[in-house]
C-alpha cells in the first residue's frame, strides 16, 4: 500500500502560470511511515535498546553453543563462597567510595559457590530462547490457521474454529502445565515447540477476523475478477494488510511467553534441571529471600526487564501500524 502523490494538474491554456506547488506531501511507502512512527515512540525505542542490551549481554557473556564468552566463570562450576556470597557489583560509586566495581561475582554466589551472574545469564538465554520460539512458532501456526479459516471459510473454517474453541476452553496454564509435564526431560527447545502448539489459538481468531473483512474489500474483488490465483491473493493482497496485526500480536505473545515459561518453571513443569531458566532460579531460591535476597532479585529483574521491553516494543509497533490508535487490546 502506497500513498501516492496525486497526479499533477495539467494546467489549462489560460493558467500556464500555475506551477505544481500545492502538493508538498512526499510519497512515502507504508514501511517508511511505520518506521517513522515507531521511531517517534520513545517507550518503544527504550524497550528495543534495553532488550538488545539484555540479549547481547546474555549471549556474549557466557557464550552459547560452542562459542565461548568473555565471562570467565561457568554457571555449573561450584566454588568457595566469598564474602557470604554477596554481590560485588557496585553501580553507585559515591556510597562506599570504591567507585564503579564489577568484581569477581557481580551478582553474588549461591550457597554452593556457583557464580550467580553466569547462572542468571544462562537462565536469561534459555528464557529468551523459549519465549522467542513460542512467539515465532505460534504466530506462524496462528496466522496460517487464521488465514485458511478466514479466506476459505466453509468446512475448513468450521473445523479450525471448533478446534480453537476447544483449546480456549482450557485455561492456558492448566493446558501448559499438563503438556509441560508430558514433555519433561525433552529439553527447553522441545518444551517451547510444544507450548507453541497450544497457544496459537487467540492469534488464529484475530487473523481470521482480519481476513474475513479484507476478503470482502474491493481490491480483493478486483484481483479475483482479474483471475488471480488464491495463493496470490492471500500473499500479495491480503497478507500485507494484515501484517500489522500479526506482528503486534507476535510481539505481545513473546511477552506472554516469557511469563508463561517463568510460571511453569516456577511450578516445576517447565525447564528441568540440569538446565535452568529465570523462572526456575526464582523458584529455587525463593526461600533464601531473608538470607540472600539477591538470589531472588536478579532473575526477577531480568524477567521484568525483558517482558517490559517487549510490551513497550509491541505498543510502539501497534501505534506505528495503526495511527488511529483505536484498536483496543485485551
Amino acid at each position: 500500500m502506497t500513498i501516492l502523490t496525486p497526479e499533477p494538474v495539467t494546467p489549462g491554456d489560460t493558467a500556464t502560470a500555475a506551477p505544481e506547488r500545492e502538493f508538498t506531501i512526499k510519497a512515502r511507502t507504508q514501511g517508511q511511515m511505520v518506521r517513522g512512527r515507531f521511531i517517534r515512540h520513545r517507550g518503544a525505542l527504550i524497550g528495543l535498546t534495553a532488550l538488545g542490551f539484555v540479549v547481547v549481554l546474555a549471549y556474549t557473556s557466557i557464550g552459547f553453543w560452542k562459542i565461548p564468552g568473555w565471562w570467565p566463570l561457568d554457571f555449573k562450576d561450584t566454588g568457595t563462597v566469598v564474602n557470604a556470597g554477596q554481590p560485588s557489583l557496585d553501580l553507585i560509586p559515591w556510597i562506599d567510595g570504591d567507585g564503579l566495581t564489577i568484581g569477581d561475582h557481580p551478582f553474588g554466589q549461591d550457597q554452593t559457590g556457583r557464580d550467580y551472574f553466569a547462572l542468571t545469564m544462562r537462565g536469561t538465554q534459555i528464557s529468551l530462547m523459549v519465549a522467542f520460539v513460542i512467539g515465532i512458532v505460534s504466530t506462524f501456526l496462528g496466522a496460517l490457521a487464521g488465514a485458511i479459516s478466514g479466506y476459505y471459510g466453509g468446512k475448513a473454517d468450521g473445523v479450525i474454529m471448533r478446534f480453537t474453541d476447544l483449546l480456549l476452553t482450557i485455561p492456558i496454564l492448566i493446558l501448559a502445565a499438563v503438556v509441560g509435564q508430558a514433555v519433561a526431560g525433552g529439553g527447553p527447545f522441545f518444551l517451547a515447540m510444544v507450548l507453541a502448539l497450544v497457544i496459537w489459538t487467540s492469534l488464529a481468531r484475530l487473523v481470521r477476523g482480519e481476513f474475513l473483512s479484507l476478503r470482502e474489500k474491493e481490491f480483493v474483488e478486483a484481483a479475483k475478477a482479474m483471475g488471480a490465483k488464491n495463493s496470490r491473493i492471500i500473499f500479495r493482497h491480503i497478507l500485507p494488510n494484515a501484517i500489522g496485526t500479526i506482528i503486534v500480536s507476535a510481539t505481545l505473545t513473546i511477552a506472554v511467553a516469557i511469563l508463561l515459561e517463568a510460571a511453569l518453571s516456577y511450578l516445576g513443569f517447565g525447564v528441568q534441571p540440569p538446565d535452568t531458566s529465570l523462572g526456575r532460579l526464582i523458584s529455587e531460591y525463593q526461600n533464601s529471600f531473608s538470607t540472600r535476597p539477591w538470589l531472588f532479585w536478579w532473575p526477577g529483574l531480568f524477567i521484568i526487564a525483558i517482558a517490559l521491553s517487549v510490551n513497550f516494543i509491541g505498543d510502539g509497533l501497534r501505534d506505528a501500524f495503526d495511527p488511529r490508535q483505536t484498536r483496543v487490546r485485551a
Binding site: V9, T10, G12, T14, A15, A17, A18, E22, F23
Partner: protein, 339 residues
C-alpha cells in the same frame, strides 16, 4: 429587515498537529438575521463545519480559536463553560451530517429527545417524553407515540434525521445549524428532509445556517450564500445572484459540477485538482493552481473579500471583472475537462 441575531467576525481556527499547524478556518465574517437561512457552501476541508463547531463550542481543547462571535449582544467564544452549556441546544441547536451515528445506540429516541429538553427545563421525565412525542409528530414521524420508545437502529436513515431535527427544535432555539443534513441520506429522502427542516424552522421562528457542499441543495432554501475555500470566505451574495452571476471562478466551478436536468448535452464540467493542504499554505490565492483565470498576481497576493459590480455581492478574486464578462460561467472549466 429582521433583527440581526448573530455576528461572526474574523473567526479563525487552527489545530496544532505533528506535521504543523492546520489553519482550518482563516478568518471569516458573516451576520445572520432572525428567521433567515444562510448557506455556507464549500468542498470538504474548506472549514465550513469547523467554523460551525466553533460557534457551538464543540471543538476539541487543542483548537485555537480567535475572532468574535456575537449572539444577541453576547460574546459567545469567551463565555464561561456553564453559560456556554446553557446556550448549547437551547439558543443554538445543531443537526449533524450522519444520522446513523449521531444518535446514541443504547437509548431510545424518546429518551434522547427528552434528555435534550430536560437539560434546559426542570420538568419530570414524563412531561419531557410527552414533549418528545409532540416533536416527533411535528417532524412527520408516523405513530410518534410508539416510535418514541424505539431505539435509533429501528429507524430508517431519513427517520433518524427527522428525529435529529425534532431534537434540535425541542427547546425552541433561535438558530439551527444544519451541518450537511442530507449528505448521508438517499437522494429520494433528501428533498423531504430539507422541506421538513424549512417547515419546522418556520414553526419555531428560528434562523438556519445550512452547511453544504451541494449548491443544488441551496437553491430552494437559502436567502444568502457564503462560499468558502481553503478556510476563507471567497464569495458572499444573495442566493439568486450566485447562480446567475458568480464573481469568483471557484463558485463558477461549483455551478459547473451540478447536474442539471435541463442542460443540453448533460455534460458536467468539474474543477480539476484538489484543495490545498491547510498546513504551510503558500502565499497567493489558494485557488490559483486550479483556476483557469489565474495570472502572475494570483501567485503572490491573496485577494481579500471585496465589493464587486453588484450591490451586496462580495468576492475574493483579482479577476472578478474578467469573470463578469464570461457569458456562461459554468463553462469556465470546459477546456480542461475536454483536454
Amino acid at each position: 429587515m429582521a433583527q440581526e441575531i448573530l455576528r461572526v467576525q474574523d473567526l479563525a481556527v487552527s489545530f496544532p498537529t505533528e506535521d504543523g499547524t492546520v489553519h482550518a478556518v482563516r478568518g471569516i465574517s458573516y451576520t445572520l438575521h432572525e428567521r433567515e437561512v444562510l448557506a455556507i457552501v464549500g468542498e470538504s476541508g474548506s472549514g465550513k463545519s469547523v467554523s460551525a463547531m466553533a460557534l457551538m463550542g464543540l471543538l476539541p481543547k487543542t483548537a485555537q480559536i480567535t475572532g468574535s462571535v456575537n449572539y444577541r449582544d453576547q460574546e459567545v467564544l469567551t463565555l464561561p463553560p456553564k453559560k456556554a452549556r446553557a446556550m448549547r441546544g437551547r439558543n443554538i441547536a445543531m443537526v449533524f451530517q450522519d444520522p446513523m451515528t449521531a444518535m446514541n445506540p443504547v437509548y431510545t429516541v424518546g429518551d434522547q429527545l427528552a434528555e435534550a429538553y430536560r437539560s434546559h427545563h426542570r420538568v419530570e421525565r414524563k412531561v419531557a417524553l410527552a414533549k418528545a412525542t409532540e416533536m416527533l409528530d411535528r417532524v412527520g414521524i408516523p405513530q410518534a407515540k410508539d416510535r418514541v420508545r424505539a431505539y435509533p437502529h429501528e429507524f430508517s436513515g431519513g427517520m433518524r434525521q427527522r428525529a435529529m431535527i425534532a431534537m434540535a427544535i425541542i427547546n425552541n432555539p433561535d438558530i439551527i445549524i444544519a451541518d450537511e443534513p442530507t449528505t448521508a441520506l438517499d437522494v429520494t429522502v433528501q428533498a423531504q428532509i430539507l422541506e421538513t427542516l424549512i417547515e419546522v424552522k418556520d414553526s419555531v421562528n428560528a434562523a438556519v445556517i445550512l452547511i453544504t457542499h451541494d449548491l443544488g441543495v441551496v437553491a430552494g432554501m437559502a436567502h444568502r450564500v457564503l462560499v468558502m475555500y481553503a478556510g476563507k470566505a471567497v464569495e458572499r451574495a444573495e442566493v439568486d445572484e450566485i447562480y446567475t452571476r458568480p464573481r469568483m471562478p471557484y463558485t463558477a466551478g461549483l455551478l459547473g459540477s451540478i447536474p442539471a436536468l435541463d442542460s443540453a448535452g448533460g455534460r458536467l464540467h468539474p474543477i480539476t485538482g484538489a484543495p490545498p493542504s491547510l498546513i504551510n499554505l503558500p502565499p497567493g490565492c489558494p485557488f490559483s493552481p486550479r483556476c483557469p483565470l489565474a495570472t502572475e498576481i494570483c501567485l503572490h497576493e491573496e485577494p481579500p473579500l471585496g465589493p464587486t459590480d453588484l450591490p451586496h455581492h462580495e468576492a475574493a478574486c483579482h479577476h472578478w471583472e474578467t469573470l463578469a464578462e464570461v457569458p456562461d460561467p459554468t463553462m469556465l472549466f470546459r477546456s480542461e475537462a475536454g483536454a
